[in-house]
């Protein structure tokens, strides 16, 4: 661990939006850490603040409505202190992003070749021709057949899987150090998803990038990530390496999540374990532990006092008053 080079450190990130209902803290005191060559997964249900966290790194949120607090360290510099111009220079160059929906994330009226060339010519001093060559190379790298041909086509002319490859090619054009992937395969079919995930991991290894991988699919997390943070209502509930998370989850929420996924084998006559209740809206965050209203372990304390992210072990952080009890395996029966 110590030998690993730190790439990105998020410290106490708080993202506050102005809305009609008043200010809303979508991301609350999130701290994360990512090293080179690692894949850090962020999982969580819809609205838990995954996208907000990832977009605040490059400050892509509507600047007029957003306030950031905390620090985001990238290679020793605080991104939140940079000028817009400095951030611009990083975007697409040192830090790239891939979004969920490959259709709407590509400009529909620009040929895909041009869209990739654009980012190359923006960050590298190359001629049009060279950029063109590089585009073809990238397309080939991402496994697109007859790339010269494809480069001239428009997003609507190619399939969803291809489009996501284009997004990947675009993100990797300048060989970034950090790749942020916000649900890159959610819109794809399972068989295509498998292809794309393979491709991403292959390229990650080749470029030794750090990847921040956002998803709501625990299966995907298990397949690609080295470390995972579980988010709920804008907070990180648990963070550890993948194996630990799936074998010994310490947070009741994580446990619930894992349990509620139907098995491909296993007893189908029994009901699925499920987490009762629903995610409350951000405008109505419960006092105490945010998960307490839905938590089968919750005690009075949970409803009153908010737990902090505590270290259960060196590489395992968890936000729960009862994690020690859980650690002892005394509460398995609940799910």
């Amino acid at each position: 661990m110590a030998t690993q080079e730190s790439l990105l450190t998020i410290e106490d990130l708080k993202v506050i939006f102005s809305t009609y209902g008043g200010d809303v803290t979508a991301v609350d005191n999130v701290s994360l850490q990512l090293n080179k060559g690692e894949v850090l997964g962020i999982v969580g249900e819809s609205g838990s603040g995954k996208s907000v966290t990832s977009e605040s790194i490059l400050q892509l949120l509507d600047e007029d409505l957003t306030t950031y607090e905390g620090n985001i360290w990238f290679e020793g510099k605080n991104l939140l202190d940079m000028s817009p111009r400095q951030i611009q220079r990083l975007r697409g160059n040192d830090i790239s992003m891939i979004f969920q929906d490959p259709m709407s994330s590509l400009n529909p009226v620009m040929s895909i070749g041009k869209q990739i060339a654009e980012v190359i010519r923006l960050h590298q001093r190359v001629s049009k021709k060279e950029a063109q060559k590089k585009v073809v190379e990238l397309l080939r790298l991402t496994g697109i057949p007859s790339p010269e041909q494809r480069a001239k086509e428009y997003p609507h002319e190619i399939s969803g899987g291809m489009r996501q490859r284009i997004m990947i090619a675009m993100a990797l054009a300048c060989e970034p150090k950090l790749l942020i992937a916000d649900e890159p395969t959610t819109a794809l079919d399972v068989t295509i998803q498998a292809q794309i995930l393979n491709l991403m991991m292959e390229l990650k290894d080749r470029l030794n990038m750090g990847v921040l991988f956002i998803t709501h699919d625990l299966g995907v997390v298990r397949t690609v990530c080295t470390k995972v943070a579980v988010m709920y209502l804008g907070q990180v509930m648990e963070e550890t390496d993948v194996d630990t998370l799936f074998s010994k989850p310490l947070h009741p929420y994580t446990m619930g999540l894992i349990k509620s996924v139907p098995h491909l084998d296993g007893d189908k006559t029994k009901d699925l374990p499920s987490i009762p209740g629903t995610v409350p809206p951000l405008s109505n965050i419960p006092d105490g532990c945010r998960f307490a209203p839905r938590c089968p372990f919750a005690t009075e304390k949970c409803h009153k006092e908010a737990p902090s992210l505590a270290y259960a072990s060196d590489s395992h952080r968890v936000r729960c008053w009862h994690y020690e009890t859980i650690q002892k395996g005394e509460m398995e029966h609940v799910y």
Binding site: Y20, G21, T25, D64
Partner: protein, 308 residues
């Protein structure tokens, strides 16, 4: 920087007490509020025109014609010696009445036409061709032609203007209905065996109301302007009844001698139409929160820094 962060604030200090966001959103929509104020003002004038007006709007007084604004005649008198203030108040009333009537007629017919053509392919072809035809027909010319065919009566102005605005409403309704029609709940209704009429008028119709209402405010505004243009071309509300439009037309004839005949009705027509447009814009923003801009939170970077 990698030092582990052991402690952090235990409770966040977000204020729990919140105002009703709908009302906040309504009131913070400055367009809507300003528009509503202007419209309200105009409507009050329209309703109370007979009470506000110190003079009979039709009473001629040739001895005091073209008198400049004074304490007696606040807005002066016109070329018949009629009180411009009283006429302006009535003008607001009549312009609003014409605008409202035309808008209501055009909306009802436009709504039905739009819904039907969104739902029935064959009807769609026929109705939309008619609408295209009427739409392509230059509106003022259409209105003038209808007016000269049917004769200069207020009711004919209303008929002419309604005809002019039906296509634009029908189109808006149609395109909104086409979107709603594809919503799953329509399919769900079909799956339950609901009849087309029920689906169309009880379910799709309420869902196209918001774009319709927005469009209606614009049609209202444009109606008032178009009536003014018609008056300018001699085919508006038949005199001597004052509409803001034909008052402007009268005023223009004496614009060098009696500015007040143009200026006061001019101000009122602009305010009224502006009010409607503001209201329409506000409404559109309100219904489509994407367009809304909140009170700014444009903190300078150094400010943020000093906070942390």
């Amino acid at each position: 920087m990698n030092a582990p962060q052991q402690t952090e604030p235990l409770s966040h200090t977000t204020e729990k007490k919140k105002k009703n966001p709908t009302i906040v959103r309504l009131l913070s929509n400055r367009l809507l509020v300003r528009g509503a104020i202007l419209i309200l003002l105009s409507v009050i004038i329209a309703i109370f025109a007979p009470l506000i007006s110190p003079f009979d709007m039709l009473k001629v007084d040739p001895a005091h014609r073209l008198a400049a604004p004074s304490t007696l005649h606040w807005f002066g008198t016109d070329n018949f010696g009629r009180d411009v203030f009283s006429r302006t108040m009535y003008g607001v009333r009549i312009s609003i009445m014409i605008g409202a009537t035309v808008t209501i007629i055009a909306s009802v017919i436009g709504l039905i036409v739009g819904l039907l053509s969104a739902y029935y392919k064959v009807l769609d072809y026929i109705l939309m061709r008619i609408c295209d035809g009427l739409f392509a027909f230059p509106s003022i010319l259409l209105a003038i032609a209808i007016m000269s065919a049917l004769g200069p009566k207020t009711i004919n102005v209303i008929i002419a203007l309604s005809l002019v605005f039906i296509p634009s409403i029908a189109r808006i309704v149609r395109s909104a209905a086409l979107v709603v029609k594809e919503k799953t709940f329509v399919e769900a209704l079909k799956a339950q065996g609901a009849s087309s009429v029920r689906i169309l008028f009880l379910h799709i119709a309420p869902n196209v109301l918001s774009p319709l209402i927005v469009q209606v405010t614009y049609v209202f505004a444009v109606t008032i302007l178009t009536e003014a243009s018609l008056s300018f071309l001699g085919a508006g509300i038949p005199a001597p009844i004052p509409s803001l439009g034909n008052m402007l037309y009268d005023g223009k004839l004496a614009i060098y001698t009696a500015w007040w005949m143009t200026v006061f009705p001019g101000i009122f027509i602009i305010l009224l139409v502006l009010g409607l447009n503001l209201f329409g814009d506000g409404l559109r923003d309100w219904l489509n929160p994407k367009n809304v801009v909140l009170n700014r939170r444009r903190k300078k970077r150094w400010q943020r820094k000093s906070l942390s």
